[in-house]
Symmetry: C2
Subunit: 138 residues, 2 copies
DNA sequence: TCTTTAACGCAACTCGGTTGCAAATATAAA
DNA sequence: TTTATATTTGCAACCGAGTTGCGTTAAAGA
C-alpha cells in the first residue's frame, strides 16, 4: 500500500485509479489546480463531473483547500496543516501572479492579527497578494 | 444640474434616468450591490444587460470598485477615494458577514505592508475579513 | 463469494454573465 | 432648433463553469 493509498484511506476515501492520480497531482504541484487543468493534465479521459465530485470530496475531507483565482474559477491547493473533515486550519497568504495567473500558497507569510472596526466582529481573515511569481520575473 | 448629473458628466458618462438611479443606489448603500440586487431594488424594469454594462462603465470610469463576495458573484461598492478612469486607488479592507452575506468596505482598516517571500514580487495586497456585521450581532 | 456503499459516466440542466445588432436617446455642432 | 454623432438601451441568442439525476461500475468489508 503506497502513501497515496494510505492518505485516501485515512480520509475515508476509496483508492480508485483516478483519485490516486488526482491526489498525486496536488502533491506534485507547487501551486494550485482548477478542474479544467486537472482534466488537461490527465488527458481528457475522465468526465468533468467525476473531477468536480472528487475535488469536492477532497476538500470536505481536508486534503485540499480553495485558493483565490484571478478569474474567479474554483481553484485548489494541497493542505499541509492539520486539516481534516472536521475543520480546515490555515493561516497563510496566497499569491496570484499577474503574468501566469497561477495561485501559490505562501506558507512563510502568516495572516497578521487585525483589530475589529466599529461593531464588526472578525472571525477570520484572508490575505491575497498579487504581483510577479519567481518564474515570471525576467 | 444635480450632483449625480455632475458626477456622471465628470466621468464621461451620459445622465440617463437609469444611470442616475444606479449611481444614487451606490451612494445610498452602506455596503455593496450585485447586478441582481440592483435589478430587484429598481423593480425589474431594466434589462439585465443594461445593468451589467452600466456596472462595467461605472467601474471603468472609477465610480465603483469590485468587492469580494461570499458566493463569488460580481459585487460592487462606491469609490470614496481618488479613483478615475486611469486607476483605482484603494487601501481598505473588506468585510463579509457570515450571516447576511453582505460585503462592507472597512475604510478604517488599512492593508498592512507585507514583506515579499522567496522570489515573489508583491505589487498589491487584498485583505478580506469574515465574521458578523453590526446588524447581525444579537 | 456476497452485500453494501462509494465512485463513475452520461445527459440534461442551471445560472451569472456576455455578444451582436438594431432601435432609442443624450450630446454637441451647425 | 435642427442635424449629425456617439452613447445607451433592449431583445434574443449565446457561453461556460459548475450542478443534478440516475443508472452502472467497482471498491471494501463481512
Ligand atoms: Zn486545509
Ligand atoms: Zn493555501
Ligand atoms: Zn475605486
Ligand atoms: Zn471597498
Amino acid at each position: 500500500m503506497t502513501d497515496l493509498d494510505l492518505v485516501l484511506k485515512e480520509h475515508g476515501l476509496r483508492k480508485t485509479t483516478f483519485r490516486k492520480e488526482l491526489l498525486s497531482l496536488f502533491y506534485d504541484s507547487n501551486s494550485s489546480l482548477t478542474a479544467e487543468e486537472v482534466k488537461n493534465i490527465l488527458g481528457h479521459t475522465t468526465d468533468k463531473v467525476t473531477i468536480y465530485r472528487a475535488l469536492d470530496a477532497f476538500e470536505k475531507t481536508g486534503l485540499i483547500h480553495r485558493v483565490p483565482d484571478k478569474s474567479n474559477l474554483t481553484r485548489y491547493a494541497i493542505c499541509h496543516s492539520e486539516c481534516s473533515s472536521i475543520k480546515h486550519v490555515h493561516n497563510h497568504a496566497h499569491f496570484i501572479c499577474n503574468s501566469c495567473n497561477e495561485t501559490f500558497c505562501i506558507n512563510d507569510i502568516k495572516i497578521p492579527h487585525i483589530e475589529g472596526a466599529k461593531g464588526f466582529l472578525i472571525k477570520n481573515a484572508k490575505l491575497t497578494l498579487e504581483g510577479d511569481c519567481p518564474q515570471c520575473q525576467s
